[in-house]
Symmetry: C2
Subunit: 288 residues, 2 copies
Amino acid sequence: MPSSSRGAKNLTIGVFDSGFGGLTVLKELLRLVPHADYLYFGDSARLPYGSKSAETVARYAISSAQFLQHRGIDLLVVACNTATALAFDRIKAALPIPVIGVIEPGAKRAAEASRSRSAAVIATEATVASHAYQRALAERGIQSREVACPLLVPLVEEGWLEHPVTEQVAKIYLAQAFDGAAPKSPQPAADVLLLGCTHYPLLRPLLERITPEGVTLVDSAESTAQAVAEYLRECSADALVRGPSSPKPSLHFFATDSVEKFRRLGERFIGRAVENVEHVDIDQAAEV
Amino acid sequence: MPSSSRGAKNLTIGVFDSGFGGLTVLKELLRLVPHADYLYFGDSARLPYGSKSAETVARYAISSAQFLQHRGIDLLVVACNTATALAFDRIKAALPIPVIGVIEPGAKRAAEASRSRSAAVIATEATVASHAYQRALAERGIQSREVACPLLVPLVEEGWLEHPVTEQVAKIYLAQAFDGAAPKSPQPAADVLLLGCTHYPLLRPLLERITPEGVTLVDSAESTAQAVAEYLRECSADALVRGPSSPKPSLHFFATDSVEKFRRLGERFIGRAVENVEHVDIDQAAEV
């Protein structure tokens, strides 16, 4: 772990996602690790990853991760469930710095929360097809049922966070996840619902309303930020987590599609104005 | 227009789309121009185009069109509304062969069908933002209202063609398109609904049910195939349209993402088995 005490320079954390969802991880990171500098990369020209093949996702993810590495990050957070599920080992192998993904922290937190040793996982088509959560949960003795929810990302991006249509769609998916257990049933088989996509925290209030009683929601975005904070504590980089606010942290964004759209949509995910956005032509950048 | 009488070789028509929607145009082409050979290119690794910026879409579309040109097509059909809306002139300028897009044929057919001289257009976010249909219709003396329908493509790709959720979503969009006119109202302002996205023909039965009475549906996929047939007739390539079936036409597909997924999803759009699919790494291909 590179030291954070190189003069006045903060440690720089790179956060990478296919687009906007990773901003929910960044939002939690800013809360839990407020004294780092952040470079966020949203591969918005090639999104979504969630419906694409492992080969394509790995290629996109590695070029995006390498872009951040060339910008001098000390630690990479793969804030995209699909990229973590399909390409984590390859991203890790391609980078000479520590890399933290979203699957392990989410699975760890779900295992801690489950008493019935059974969890439901909702995620993109590609994440579900990879069974990365199923494996990570099984290693912790937790059975799981994974359900692909391809419509939730477009609904979030449409801004229909509390819309009757979104509720109806979410109910259909949750019925699959909970195996026909009636909503508000006292003893569902699974007692944890793992939100395996970084878009889903925006639907948390709606999902909490319609999830069977007694089920704990575990959010992979929040779990990942907690894992980063723990990792920094273990590396004796406590100052980043709890230290004084000086030197001032900085926040810089890169987007491969329109900067204007990144600003506009990004605000919804991070809950603050999105400034310092720079356009990147990733095909050109990849050749450097 | 290259001749179709070069020995036994059929004329080869290239059909390009961001993914699967263009297959609805190909389906109509196979019906109306059955004696050409077809190369279809689906840029499925970079889809969707509909939510991306003009700059990104133009870059993707030109590299895809050039790939087909290098494969020896005689005529290119841009079977993607977003690519046509945002990059038609640039694609045309980049290729030394005739290029036909979907906007002009759709607008022409809508103008022929409208008596009230007013049309409603439903399309992707990017197509609507470009106002390409509005301009093409205005040139023909038709006023229009354009409504972006970002959820319809994901719903089609989920296969929910007759699902209550899709009906509810479509009703919301149509209410915007018809300015609050009650469904089945006898005199809506617009008397044409232009389906400005090549995914939408799959929703035609549902849309026909919920469109106000007296409104004619115009499908840009069908209109484009008709425009290609007319163009070939004008070029005295009648044999392609109505001639004998020998030599046998061929059908070859290229996809930039998973071949398996292209086959599986493609069948829904074209209504027949999708064989002869070849994977293309477009980033590599672009460097050639």
